[in-house]
Amino acid sequence: MSVLKYESAVRAPLVDGHKTYHQVTEDIIRPIEAAPSRLWKIGFGISVALLLFGVYSVYREVTYGIGQWNLNKTIGWGWDITNFVWWVGIGHAGTLISAILLLFRQGWRTGVNRAAEAMTIFAVMCAGQFPIFHMGRVWMAFFVLPYPNSRGPLWVNFSSPLLWDVFAISTYFTVSLLFWYAGLLPDLATVRDRAIVKWRKRLYGVLSFGWTGSTKHWQRHESLSLVLAGLSTPLVLSVHTIVSFDFATSVIPGWHTTIFPPYFVAGAIFSGFAMVQTLMIIVRKVLNLQDYITLEHIEVMNKVIVLTGSIVGVAYLTELFMAWYSQNPYEGYAFFYSRANLLSPYGWSYWGMMACNVISPQIFWFKKLRRNITVTFFMSVIVNVGMWFERFVIIVTSLYRDYVPSSWSAYYSPTIWEIGFYLGTFGLFFTCFFLFAKWFPVIAVAEIKHILKKSGESWKQEQGVLEDKKVDEFEEVMHH
């Protein structure tokens, strides 16, 4: 018996079952070729209905103005910016999984990266709606771009964080889309080459850009993926950093803190992973992909959730500490009266946030709960509720009482059209996701094949047999 271990005995296989390359293709592509299920149609119908309600809500807002929302003095930002930050945060997991985990050589990313990237793109699309429609005169939205104009030309203010947002969000969207689609090309070609029906062959022929799988193309594709990952890594971190600058560079108590960038980035990863869990748990079940999105995948993502949730918790406590330590009366008022005091008008939202984001994820210290699918599903929803509360707390509790008591606002609650806009983005998100899950390979087929002989179950077992041989026999087999 040899003590030499080539394969980690601790790591579970990333692909369960004894798959061949062809089996992988079959498993992942077959749902695309089948007719949509009833469940899919119902889900899609609900999403489209929500989307239409959102479109009507936005129509009211555009026609009658921002007065359709309950924003007032001093709450100039309410649900709209809360939802913007919330969706952008959710949009962080995809590129994190595909870029940062690629650089860190985390093999498990291959099971979830494709769907997570798609989710990122859709979430950023939803996020973008809010600041655009918040402008009021949305037909003037192009004013945010620095283009030569007849007003001077009067340029945009390049030192404003709101303009940085324009650049950050649009760059993030573009780069994520390119990264996602570049990865999709080979898989779309797989769908094309399997197609028997003529229209499908044509459609995927167009979508796959004529990909052949040439060795030279793969070589460039690998180089492209690696560099895009290298570019996206700082990009992911920069986007939520810049979103946090919208608050941190202001002089509003509760916003004016240097802790915001890392705290926002951790929160973004936290909520993004939670959304990935919510979607993946449904997708693996509905599309029968349990062999590719295994319990192992769910467990590692839960580990990320407990880590980032705790980072967010530390940030909350640090804020409270600094509010006390600075002895600044305005900071103290914002934190100890408007937020942490349960009896203040919005105290419930602060403690809701604490319960959902900091306390409840701690159950993931227990392996049994990390590997429990029902618990994970509920937790993933709770985390996103909590993260919504976080943004609501930051925005509303800092704004509703100004420095001058005479300008304190009445209790802010949204109108139906404000809620409708939010529901509409859910509609947009799920409409896109349903279409994606039906027409695109939800798992990166080529990447799974690539790791199949390194982390598949068959390979692990073969290695186990090999490793039990004598060292020189093992060496003989490994090198020939």
């Binding site: 061949t20 390359y21 062809h22 293709t25 620095p146 001077g152 030309p153 340029w155 203010n157 390049f158 030192s159 964080p161 303009l163 940085w164 650049f167 950050a168 649009s170 760059t171 573009t174 780069v175 390119l178 990264f179 570049a182 090309l185 080979p186 070609a189 797989t190 094309r192 080459d193 399997r194 022929g205 167009v206 979508l207 850009f209 004529g210 990909w211 052949t212 799988g213 040439s214 060795t215 030279k216 193309h217 793969w218 070589q219 460039r220 594709h221 180089s223 492209l224 690696l226 560099v227 895009l228 570019l231 700082p234 920069s238 600058f245 080529a446 990447e447 094949k449 690539h450 090198h479």
Partner: protein, 198 residues
């Protein structure tokens, strides 16, 4: 219509493919191309293809973006329309960092993807010759062109001998879509034995 004739060999396993590539090149013949369902690491070296310079292009696009963003913002704030923002300096370099960074990434990413598509001749509605439909599924497809030095029979025998489990001949219309990667392929010589070891 100008046509070219190819012998196509199908392999099941990359473990067979690597020695096969080595043997074909050792016999003094160039491989037209190998089509694989996923990136097989080391196959490009085994085939004698040079390293891609795509990342260098990415770097050039990136610094172009940096330069454009920085110089444009500086021009706007100092020359085109110097705006007094709370008496702050007209050239606030730290405030330019976010936009400069984002624009750098944008230029590098968009430029690289377009260059990638151009080099690989990938675009919607492009029609190419696909040697075997299962090259994107589970087969490794090695294609050798028949030339005056290598007849169809010889090429078929060669592919059979190196372990292809199915060999057939195809005729394809000559054109750019076939690629010219065999041109940059160096013939195998004894000094680079190491590259094809695995």
């Amino acid at each position: 219509m100008d046509v070219r004739k190819f012998v196509v060999g199908l392999f099941d396993d990359e473990k067979v493919l690597f020695p096969a590539v080595k043997k074909v090149r050792k016999s003094g013949f160039k491989i037209h191309d190998v089509y694989t369902p996923f990136p097989v690491h080391g196959l490009d070296q085994a085939m004698g293809l040079r390293e891609t310079s795509l990342h260098t292009a990415g770097f050039i696009y990136g610094i172009t973006g940096t330069t454009i963003a920085l110089s444009f913002m500086s021009w706007v704030f100092t020359s085109s329309w110097p705006l007094n923002i709370g008496g702050k300096p007209h050239l606030p370099l730290p405030a330019f960092i976010p936009v400069t960074f984002e624009f750098t990434v944008l230029c590098a990413a968009v430029g690289m993807v377009l260059t990638f598509c151009y080099l690989c001749q990938l675009a919607p509605f492009v029609k190419k010759h696909h040697f075997h439909p299962r090259a994107t599924d589970d087969k490794f497809v090695m294609v050798i062109e028949c030339t005056s030095a290598l007849t169809e029979a010889d090429a078929t025998a060669l592919l059979n001998q190196v372990g292809a489990h199915e060999v057939h001949t195809q005729v394809a219309e000559a054109g750019w879509w076939l690629g010219t990667y065999d041109k940059q392929q160096r013939l195998y010589d004894e000094s680079d034995i190491v590259v094809a070891a695995h």
